[in-house]
């Protein structure tokens, strides 16, 4: 990364300008409104009445709030430890380009073609206890098997997890691009030094890919924070609190036209997103040059 270069500053801001314009046009006002009204009592149309941090204390005292945080933390942990590394593993396999890898790459993209609403509906069918394909496969081996995946605890947590666990194509492609960019001289030098495949991977490939892996972790955690359709169209946060998430609490607030509480929930989501961004940026030293 280049040092701060004063003569480039006008160009830098000029390059940023279109993005800033789109941000200003489509996101700036919504964000201001969300943050501002989170400190008010507001039904969406009347004048918002300032009530300080009442909405936040209310939110933190909710029985489902802590469960939602715990679920998001657990999902994020699974994303960091399994989802992202599955994506990296696939990227490594793609990088070796075994015959047929292009077919796998194309297939991996297919779930992205399906909208998240349709995806949730498909999984509701696959996990259906009666005629879902999963349980019917299991019943070949164990005829008494009966699990209503999305609607009993704790199965529903894992059913929701499964709807995204293996679908890591963005991660694979981002990491693959990073792997391809590693100059071949580096690999060459490593081989001459006698490094084995595993050593090259651990000492060279992974550190050089830390930027894309860090990005993948940030992306997958923010996706867990904002995950909505997969829950709302299947278990609705239930049964009980098993799959409760902040997005469900937010929609509850909207349903009751309590935009103060709904928007306070959104602010908590913003704060979590920015915290993840800063922590992972620091942890993966993403502000420093890779090369």
């Amino acid at each position: 990364m280049k040092k701060l270069e004063r003569r480039n500053l006008p160009w830098i801001y000029l390059f940023l300008l279109p993005t800033i314009l789109i941000f200003a046009l489509f996101y700036c006002w919504p964000i201001i409104q969300v943050v501002g009204t989170s400190f008010t009592r507001w039904n969406g149309f009347s004048r918002p009445a300032f009530i300080g941090i009442d909405n936040y204390t209310r939110l933190f005292n909710m029985s489902s709030f802590m469960v939602a945080l715990r679920n998001i933390a657990l999902w994020s942990l699974i994303a960091m430890t399994f989802h992202v590394w599955f994506g990296v593993l696939v990227a490594l396999v793609f990088f070796k380009q075994p015959p047929g890898w292009k077919i796998a790459r194309a297939a991996f993209m297919v779930p992205m073609v399906i909208s998240s609403a349709a995806w949730a509906m498909i999984y509701r069918f696959i996990f259906n206890n009666e005629f879902g394909i999963l349980n019917n496969i299991i019943r070949i081996f164990n005829p008494d098997f009966n699990v209503n995946w999305f609607f009993q605890s704790p199965a529903s947590f894992w059913a929701i997890t499964f709807t995204w666990l293996f679908y890591a194509v963005i991660i694979s492609l981002v990491v693959l691009a990073d792997l391809m960019a590693i100059p071949s001289e580096i690999h060459e030098a490593a081989r001459i030094d006698g490094a084995g495949g595993w050593q090259t991977l651990r000492m060279i490939d992974m550190p050089l890919c830390r930027f894309s892996i860090g990005t993948s972790i940030i992306m997958s955690i923010t996706s867990r924070i904002s995950m909505f359709e997969a829950i709302a169209l299947t278990s609705r946060g239930g049964p009980g609190n098993t799959t409760m998430s902040l997005s469900i609490i937010l929609v509850r607030g909207i349903s009751d036209r309590n935009f103060g509480v709904a928007n306070a929930t959104a602010v908590v989501m913003f704060v979590m997103g920015i915290a993840v961004l800063l922590i992972i940026n620091r942890l993966f030293r993403m502000n420093e040059s890779v090369y």
Partner: protein, 277 residues
């Protein structure tokens, strides 16, 4: 790239590839298969192949709709929005990845949290903008709104793509005395093309599937997109699985066909541009 390898590693690699293919394709294949079964067959026997290939549900969906027109609308809107926003966001992501400047972290954080802005707060401002520009019920209005759609994802993918370009490689390609824009346009952009392709495909698919704003901002059939048209088959009191799966298949298949086709196109253009990565 293929080197002599331990056969065990090869077997493991193929296990991973096979798993990727199965886990990605089986939901889709299952949907397509179900669309050819009757309601009763879906309910009673999930494994059996359809007893007869019956295109009736498809004809039912296709006959009641002008699908070609909607497909073209979806394609034009999604493609135009994708190209414009790819250009805009690649400039933004480029300076964030390659330069230090005051406000960088703030801008990046703001662009990223757009992913977490709840939809309900965006509806009214967007409707208002589109109305005031007199773009209600036009394809241009939707294109404008779709520019904003993939902001966070583009920032992630493109920033990573530009950051992965080694300085030496870019410098080697640098023409002496090239200006800021030319450095970006002729050196970095071609080197980041795989990231651009990834971001472009994802953004296209996001636009292609978008339903809420399409249904909010357009109304006449000549501006209708595919997901909007299919919403008429998913009404609240529907209980006909066969037709539901047929509509779902019709929503998914064109996207996959376009994806496979564009994948080929992207690769071709990469080859023809002749820049080695």
């Amino acid at each position: 790239m293929v080197e002599k390898k331990n056969p065990i590693i090869y077997i493991l690699m193929y296990i991973v590839l096979a798993f990727v293919i199965v886990v990605s394709l089986f939901p889709l294949l299952w949907v397509i298969m179900s669309s050819f079964k009757t309601n009763a067959e879906i309910l009673s026997s999930p494994f059996t192949l359809p007893t007869a290939i019956n295109f009736q549900p498809y004809l039912h969906v296709l006959n009641t709709n002008n699908f070609a027109q909607f497909g073209i609308n979806s394609f034009v809107i999604a493609t135009t929005a994708t190209f414009i926003s790819l250009f805009i966001y690649s400039m933004g992501a480029y300076v964030i990845a390659k330069y230090n400047f005051p406000g960088k972290s703030i801008f990046f954080s703001l662009f990223v949290i757009t992913m977490l802005v709840p939809g309900h707060t965006r509806t009214q401002p967007i409707f208002s903008i589109v109305m005031n520009l007199r773009l209600y019920d036009t394809r241009q209005g939707l294109i404008l709104v779709y520019l904003s759609g993939g902001m966070a994802m583009c920032m992630f993918v493109l920033r990573a793509a530009f950051a992965s370009i080694p300085k030496e490689m870019a410098e080697a390609a640098t023409i002496d005395g090239a200006g800021f824009f030319r450095t970006f346009w002729q050196m970095h952009l071609p080197l980041a093309r795989s990231g651009l392709a990834t971001a472009g495909i994802l953004m296209f698919l996001g636009n292609w599937n978008e339903y809420y704003f399409a249904a909010l901002l357009t109304i006449s059939p000549r501006n209708r997109t595919l997901p909007y048209a299919l919403a008429f088959f998913n009404e609240a009191f529907a209980y006909d699985y066969t037709r539901m799966f047929a509509a779902l298949t019709l929503a998914i298949l064109p996207g996959i066909i376009i994806y496979i086709f564009s994948q080929e196109q992207v690769r071709m253009s990469v080859v023809s541009s002749g820049v080695k990565g």
